[in-house]
């Protein structure tokens, strides 16, 4: 049973079905798999909606796309979130605040730049007050193009992030940061 379950985890890259736990039985797995299982099943994202993309972020959390299915729920405090979803334009005036928010998040933390504004400045590249891409101020793990990206795209990004998390050695992630 235990070996079986372990094999299932490492051999199937897409879905991990937790082994049917028989009362009183023990399950053996690697610490990484075990910890990653918790991590990717509860990616709490920070509700950091600065502009238009924030509305699509809300719709993604809403009934139709329903991010909760993947264990992703929004948090309003950086201290409780694993993922910073930068949804919208970041201006120079906001830049220092974004850094502060990022610094307050506990490790290991991830950043998705949602929309072309957060990715590269988007429509407002020529503007005098817009930061051309949030990667100028904080490290970004994933870029999500679109103006705004559709809820399906954001959904896909979260699934992609789950896949990464599954393969990661979480302690490395902390050490690197």
């Amino acid at each position: 049973m235990s070996e079986d379950g372990d094999k299932k985890i490492s051999s199937s890259p897409k879905y991990i079905i937790p082994p049917n736990i028989i009362p009183g039985a023990a399950v053996a797995t690697t610490t990484d798999h075990f910890i990653n299982w918790f991590r990717y099943s509860s990616i709490w994202y920070m509700l950091f909606a600065t502009a238009c993309c924030g509305i699509e972020l809300m719709q993604t959390g809403g009934p139709r796309t329903d991010l909760d299915r993947f264990g992703s729920v929004f948090r309003t405090s950086p201290r409780q979130s694993d993922l910073l979803l930068v949804a919208g334009t970041i201006t120079y005036k906001m830049a220092d605040r974004v850094r502060l928010l990022y610094a307050q998040m506990p490790l290991p933390k991830y950043v998705i730049a949602m929309g072309s504004c957060a990715t590269c400045g988007g429509l407002f590249t020529q503007s005098y007050s817009v930061v051309n891409g949030v990667d100028k101020i904080i490290p970004v793990d994933m870029y999500l193009p679109g103006c705004p990206p559709r809820p399906e795209a954001l959904n896909h990004a979260i699934i992609k992030l789950q896949e990464w998390m599954r393969r990661e050695h979480w302690a490395d992630k902390i050490r690197k940061a």
């Binding site: 509700l47 950091f48 909606a49 600065t50 502009a51 238009c52 924030g54 509305i55 699509e56 809300m58 719709q59 809403g62 009934p63 139709r64 309003t76 950086p78 919208g88 334009t89 201006t91 120079y92 005036k93 906001m94 830049a95 220092d96 605040r97 850094r99 502060l100 928010l101 610094a103 590269c120 400045g121 429509l123 407002f124 590249t125 020529q126 503007s127 005098y128 007050s129 817009v130 930061v131 051309n132 891409g133 990667d135 100028k136 101020i137 904080i138 490290p139 970004v140 793990d141 994933m142 870029y143 103006c147 705004p148 559709r150 990464w164 690197k176 940061a177």
Partner: protein, 558 residues
Amino acid sequence: MDAREIYGLLVQKFPEGILEFKENLLDPAIEVKPQALIDVAFFLKAEQGLEFDYLRCLSGVDLKDQLEVVYQLHSIAKGHDLVIKVKAAAGDPVIPSVSGIWKTANWHEREAFDLLGINFQGHDDLRRILLPEDWIGHPLKKDYVPQPEYHGITPDRPDGLDAIPIGEGGEQPRPPIQYLPAMHGPKDEPEGKLFHLNMGPHHPSTHGVLNFMLNTDGEVLSRVVPEVGYLHRGMEKLAENLQYSGNMPYTDRIDYLGSMFCNHGWAMAIERLLNIEVPKRAEYCRVIVDELNRIASHLIATGSMAMDVGAFTPFTHWLRERETINDIMEMICGARLTYNYMRIGGVSRDISPAVVEKTLAWLDHFDIIMEEFDRLISENQIFIKRLAEIAVISAEDAIDYGLSGPNLRASGVDFDIRRDEPYSVYPELDFDVITGKAWKGSLGDCYDRYYCRMDEMRQSVRILRQALKAMPEGDIRAKVPKTIKPDPNEVYSRVESARGELGYYVVSDGSPKPYRAKYRTGSFTSMSIIEHLSPGLMVADLVALIASFDVVAPEVDR
């Protein structure tokens, strides 16, 4: 009274102070000497028969050797408009402040100071509003050179995918966090007695990136100073560098919850400049998408109001309904949020019978859902207790501070641009203007602002049913020249958006790009009344107050 008659009156009264009557402008303007401005403004507001009690918009324009300030006045009581202008030399632009006469001017003057460097004499709090304190220069000046860097952030962006460290968490060197200089606290706080608290710019109930600086004594607020500009994207400057039609997608982003109104206002302004007649069918298409958009926007407004005071479920109900509107919009124009649907002279695509059918079916369903929503939240005792009697705004205050849209109407002022200054095909449609009824408390409290929006959605449903049935056959776009080059002129056009009056003041100099475009938005003006309302409220009431205004951050900051 029309502008010529008022000019006659003014010349009689102030023979020294009035300079010129510019009759050939689309909105005839009266130029006033700076020295006489205060007297003239006071006369215009107080004189029987004129009663200009509402300052719609105040815009600064850089004329290179001179700086000009344009005041769009309106009289709610008499229903007439007037434009007055004041000029000052570019070297030392000093213009007396009218913030003592119309409170709306307070924030608008700060904006003109921030973006154009106009010094308003007599303004008691003249400091930057949209840009950070340590910003250099005034961006809307024609000779402005952007800063090469700000706090270590440069605007350059390397091209190509290689430049992006994908999946690696980014190895590029980044400037360290600069801890912020002390924030602007409210000025008159007695040392040590009050608690100073920052609410925002990242806060779930400030609706985007708005910041409120609170002075509290326990739970009771003694003063709240809104600090805006965290989403100032410089749209007005961008518009100056774009062709008239190329600015349409940017207008979407002024108000992402009501993109259609922004499209509509911009199209109307340019059509007025070019003197283009829009085909009937296109006008119907515009009204249909406007009203759909109004419902979608009010859904977020009422839903998030419930969420902010602690009821999460209604919001998810409304998000579900919004998805259907998004689907309909997608069928109409291909986008869910930033529509870019309208064109100068018409609309980009026709509304198909399938859309009509789907919309009518959804409207029937929506009627039932509205009843359900009323049962779920409007009659909920906790909800009523949180909103009724909170932050009551009198009709005089609402007009003085330039509130507009549902916020103004909730205070009992019966003013709706769709009916009072009709545009498009609204005169052909039958609908009621909703005003506050003091359902659960006094007139103009947060509950009235909430219920006004609920009732407006019902009216929008009414309009939609009529418009979908009455839509005539025909073209959807007028003949418009390839390159749009309006004659030198200027225009102020307004639409009734979900957040009130959305006005575009556009100056054309005969080139293919606008010389100046100023966006007057409902949220910007409604934010400025918060400081006046806040003393004595509880911290939790402030959340209800902000929610009841339905402010959208990019509309405040542009």
